[in-house]
């Protein structure tokens, strides 16, 4: 064993070795020039003796080896030329074996051997066999590895492969394979042995050094992969079993991993496919510490690339049942390698899934099978906690989403939700978001209730609180983002068929209702609007389909809606509920369902009375109520009176005077609907306006009293506009003089105001006046009407 030495020592030894080589090479060259065989052999052996050192690390040894290698090339040229040394090559072959030390002897023998083969005086297979056999004498791992790699190198172009000069007669490609296999086997044994060479303390260093040497071993596999004439049959019967036998038997983690990698990389895909069973069987026999998952992943990657390369090869995959075999192997690996962390198993599943998706995109059952296996594995374990494993599961679940841009496909996978069940809440949400994003991106429409059911089952992490979730931890922004996504998702659920759509709505509702107070404000509105869209659709198809037999009637839908909004109002989220009630009421009105609309209004009013206390909210609510009410034309006189009365009443009871004023003049529209068959109660409209004026006045005075200035005349101008509106619409109770006096009033107000504030004409007022003038000048019917107003 090499002593533990510092870098400087090693450098020194290397320098000494190099000097030794150069020294002897000098004399060797002199002998070469003199064609003195005896001296040549003497000095070349001395030179090669430098390679007997045990002091160097593999890297340094390689340096030394390369120098000797260069010299050996010269020697080979000399050996080739019989006229220079005067000995038949067969005698030379014996002569070099007289060397007392094995290492120089073997290097010389390999060199002469290559000349011997080239001379064709002996069958190449015999020479090769002899060389590979004689090399056994060097059992020191590093020296042996380099010697054999020298042998591999000098013999590389002399193998009796098909198409080479050395093939034919007794020399077949089989002999070439046999030779390389044997050299490979021996090299691997040497390589594996390095680890047993020293005390455990230098294990890590050794591993590193071994890693540096691995390509020497792997080179043989490359050669095997390149030998011309190794057909599938031979590969199947000889090459692969022999290589795998060595791989499995060496029982070394590093070697097994590296060699499996090599095998996968150097041999053609087609061979892998045809020998899948053998290859996979070997994978299950590797040491438990070997990272089988990477090996398998690489294999599957290669195979799927191969499958992608040409559609012609797909039938091969089917023929060999690639999927079943891979799936089995993975199952076995996972079962047998108990120490494998769960992330490993998950990675394997991801690879298998990727493989399936690429090779058999039409076989959903395969995908489901993979997921099923994953479920089985996951359920045998405690709750998943490894973040990396979780990531793999997410990847596993995302893969089908990416592949099948249509989410619907994924929804048919029965094991999909079961896999999701094993995610922790956070990841579950992430996954749910991914699903939604996929739907959004692909603009896919989910159109049956069953699928919706499945889908909501999948994204339940977003829909409701899962056990043990701590609300405090949630980031508000994330939460909103999530809920907005859900809201968007609801709009993607659509079916032309009203019945099915209704079912969908019910399903969605069922799920959403479990969402709790924080989610409902986000999720209920889209549901409501989705339902209202259905209502409108039914309506447009002819609202006359009524009756108990027809499941999807507007009436039924409204019932559902009513219940839904009720939940929302108790959340509490009264403003939102109020809006929704009003929306529903309007829709109901469009469907000519007076009682329903009335009921919605009632609900809205109750909410207003009981829940909406904030004055600003009240103002908004009033305007909404008034606006909606104004448009609804389904009510009979009585109902309408009740509602308008209520609305005006509320308006007058608002807290701030300006709000009161505005609400009241808005109410005036309730009595004058500019439709053909609209209500045209001009008198009550005027009453509203007058009342508004009074309030405006009061507001003005209050302002005067409290602040010393009456402030702008905006309210008056606004009321003036209302007057003009009704005047234009032909309300008989609005006279030009009314308008005239209002204008004067405003003018007065502005002048009285001028005393203490700067003169500034109210732009709104100015443009109002301009409008009046404009109408007068325009003439015509309207012009005549306006003519009566004197400014």
């Amino acid at each position: 064993m090499r002593p533990l030495a510092g870098v400087e020592d090693e450098e020194k030894w290397l320098a000494e070795g190099i000097a030794g080589i150069q020294h002897n090479a000098f004399f060797m060259h002199r002998a070469l020039d003199a064609n003195n065989l005896r001296e040549v052999l003497k000095y070349s052996a001395l030179m090669l003796s430098e390679l007997r050192t045990s002091k160097l690390s593999p890297q340094k040894y390689y340096d030394l080896y390369m120098r000797a290698f260069d010299q050996l090339r010269q020697l080979e040229i000399f050996f080739k030329d019989e006229s220079r040394h005067g000995l038949p090559v067969v005698d030379l072959y014996e002569l070099v074996q007289h060397a007392g030390n094995i290492l120089p002897r073997m290097y010389l023998l390999c060199t002469v051997g290559s000349v011997y083969i080239k001379s064709k005086q002996a069958p190449s297979k015999d020479v090769l066999k002899d060389l590979v056999e004689m090399c056994r004498g060097v059992q020191h791992p590093i020296r042996g590895l380099f010697l054999r790699s020298y042998l591999a190198q000098v013999s590389r172009d002399k193998l009796p492969e098909i198409g080479s000069d050395y093939e034919g007669d007794a020399n077949t490609v089989m002999d070439a394979v046999e030779f390389v296999l044997q050299n490979f086997t021996e090299m691997n044994k040497l390589w594996v042995r390095i680890q047993h060479q020293g005390p455990g303390t230098v294990r890590e260093k050794q591993e590193k050094e071994r890693n540096e040497l691995r390509d020497l071993v792997g080179k043989n596999l490359h050669v095997l992969g390149q030998i011309e004439g190794v057909d599938l049959e031979m590969y199947k019967e000889t090459v692969l079993p022999r290589v795998l036998e060595q791989v499995v038997n060496c029982k070394d983690e590093l070697a097994q991993y590296y060699l499996m990698e090599c095998i996968i990389q150097v041999f053609p895909d087609e061979y892998h496919l045809q020998t899948l069973e053998t290859l996979l069987a070997a994978c299950t026999q590797l040491m438990p510490t070997v990272d089988t998952k990477i090996v398998l992943t690489q294999l599957m990657d290669r195979l799927s690339n191969y499958a992608a390369s040409s559609p012609d090869v797909l039938h091969e995959f089917l023929q060999v049942e690639a999927f079943a075999k891979l799936s089995n192997a993975i199952g076995k690996v996972i079962d047998t390698q108990l120490e494998m962390p769960i992330v490993g198993a998950m990675t394997l599943f991801v690879s298998l899934l990727t493989f399936t998706l690429r090779v058999h995109p039409d076989r959903l059952d395969y995908v489901d099978q993979v997921l099923g296996a994953c479920v089985v594995k996951l359920s045998s374990l405690p709750k998943l906690e490894d973040a990396r494993a979780m990531k793999q599961v997410v990847a596993l679940l995302s893969a089908p989403l990416e592949k099948y841009s249509d989410i619907v496909t994924a929804l048919t996978l029965s094991n999909y939700p079961r896999v999701m069940d094993h995610l922790d809440d956070g990841t579950n949400k992430v996954m749910a978001m991914l699903i939604i994003q996929s739907i959004m991106k692909n603009d896919s429409c989910i159109s049956t209730a069953d699928k919706v059911e499945v889908l909501f089952e999948l994204i339940k992490g977003l829909i409701k609180d899962l056990d043990g979730t701590d609300m405090e931890e949630l980031d508000e922004e994330d939460f909103q983002e999530e809920q907005n996504s859900v809201a968007r998702l609801i709009h993607m659920l659509d079916n032309e068929e009203p019945e099915e759509m209704l079912k969908i709505i019910c399903v969605v509702r069922k799920h959403l209702m479990t969402g709790g107070p924080r989610r409902l404000p986000f999720t209920v509105p889209p549901l409501i609007f989705s339902a209202l869209r259905l209502v409108r659709q039914l309506e447009s198809q002819g609202g006359d389909i009524t009756g108990e037999d027809v499941p999807a009637t507007p009436r039924k839908i409204f019932q559902i809606l009513n219940q839904t909004i009720e939940v929302l109002s108790s959340v509490p989220c009264p403003e939102l509920a109020l809006r929704l009630y009003l929306q529903c009421a309007e829709a109901a009105s469009d469907c000519d369902l007076e009682p329903v609309a009335y009921e919605f209004f009632t609900q809205a009013f109750i909410l207003y009375e009981e829940e909406i206390a904030d004055s600003k909210a009240q103002v908004t609510a009033i305007h909404l109520i008034v606006g909606t009410l104004q448009r609804i034309n389904v009510f009979g006189v009585e109902n309408r009176d009740t509602l308008t009365h209520k609305a005006t009443g509320y308006s007058a009871r608002l807290l701030k005077k300006p709000d009161q004023c505005r609400a009241v003049y808005a109410c005036s529209h309730l009595f004058w609907v500019d439709d053909l068959d609209g209500i045209k109660d001009g008198e009550r409209a005027l009453l509203c306006l007058r009342r508004a004026l009074r309030i405006a006045n009061a507001a003005q005075q209050m302002a005067n009293a409290t602040r010393g200035s009456s402030g702008p005349v905006t309210l008056f101008v606004e009321i003036l506009n209302k007057y003009i509106y009704f005047f234009e619409k032909g309300n008989p109770h609005i006279t030009p003089s009314d308008i005239q006096s209002l204008v004067e009033l405003i003018n007065n107000e502005m002048q009285s105001d001028n005393g203490n504030t700067t003169i500034h004409s109210d732009p709104f007022f100015t443009s109002t006046l301009r409008y009046i003038r404009f109408q007068k000048q325009k003439g015509g019917l309207m012009g005549d009407k306006y003519d009566l107003i004197k400014l």
Partner: protein, 303 residues
């Protein structure tokens, strides 16, 4: 003065040549002074013939009581220096007593000589073959001349040649099984085999296969045993794991080996062993030694 000097110089120059000296294979042989010289190679049952040439120095005559040539097979123990033991001794008289005035050549021949033992040059013992020419003189002392040659004998491949297979171990520490393809190897052979590790609980640095020569000389209490490691061949670098098998392929040609000699003339034995050595990181050695028999196989005409 001249005369005196001349008295110490040999009176003549004696040379021994083999009749097929030009064609005969020569092999290097280490001489006593450490230098290597090429000497002719023979094997048992060969006829050794040639010429002895006696060339007196100018103007001198060599008076002698007879000239003879001997073929000797000798075993020499170094610890008993100077004491040769001749296990083979053949004599040919070349000349009757008389005087030699000028260059004189004598042909000789030893036909189908039995030379059962191979030339051997060990740590403590030497077995050699030599042609010895003696010009016998009465008073001045005899003039001697030696010509060494090497004898190598070939053996047929053994009829029975089992593999060596064995399981050894240290309880709860190391357990191996090894196998060498044969138990008898010729000198240019290659040892094939494998080492199979059944249990490895120690950290190993390397594993070598050694070829050891065990030379024992003398007998009884005076036995001297000398072991040399002739080859050290690294089979493995580093620590294997259980179940690993390491190949063995050792070419014998590059090493200076001789055949196994068992109890040569009751004087010495040379045996070879394969020694499997495991060295751990604390440089402790674990080994297991197995005898192998080496023999000399009749080589092809080409080599």
């Amino acid at each position: 003065m001249n005369y005196l000097l001349g008295a110490f110089k040999p009176a003549c120059n004696i040379s021994i040549t083999f009749s097929d000296g030009k064609n005969r294979k020569q092999v290097p042989m280490k001489k006593e002074n450490g230098q290597t010289a090429l000497v002719p190679l023979f094997q048992s049952q060969e006829t050794i013939s040639g010429k002895v040439c006696i060339d007196p120095y100018q103007g001198k005559k060599v008076e002698h009581n007879g000239v003879k040539v001997e073929l000797l097979g000798q075993i020499e123990m170094y610890f008993d220096r100077g004491n040769f033991y001749d296990f083979t001794s053949l004599v040919r008289e070349l000349d009757v007593p008389g005087d030699i005035y000028e260059r004189k050549t004598y042909p000789f021949e030893f036909s189908t000589v039995e030379m059962p033992y191979e030339t051997y040059n060990g740590v403590n013992v030497r077995l050699r073959y030599v042609l010895k020419v003696t010009v016998t003189r009465g008073y001045a002392g005899s003039i001697l001349e030696y010509q060494e040659f090497v004898v190598r004998n070939f053996a047929p491949p053994p009829a029975i040649n089992n593999s060596i297979k064995m399981e050894v171990g240290i309880e709860d520490c190391l357990h191996i099984e090894f196998e060498y393809n044969k138990s008898k190897y010729h000198l240019k052979d290659v040892i094939l085999g494998k080492i199979y590790f059944l249990l490895v609980r120690i950290k190993m640095k390397n594993m070598d296969l050694e070829i050891r020569r065990r030379e024992s000389t003398g007998a009884g209490a005076n036995t001297h045993v000398e072991t040399e490691t002739l080859a050290k061949f690294e089979l493995m670098d580093g620590t294997p794991v259980r179940g690993e098998s390491i190949p063995v392929r050792l070419f014998l040609a590059p090493y200076d080996l001789t055949p196994t000699h068992r109890n040569i003339n009751n004087k010495f034995s040379v045996k070879y062993y394969l020694n499997l050595v495991l060295v751990d990181e604390e440089d402790r050695r674990y080994f297991k030694q197995q005898e192998i028999t080496l023999y000399r196989l009749k080589e092809d005409a080409s080599s």
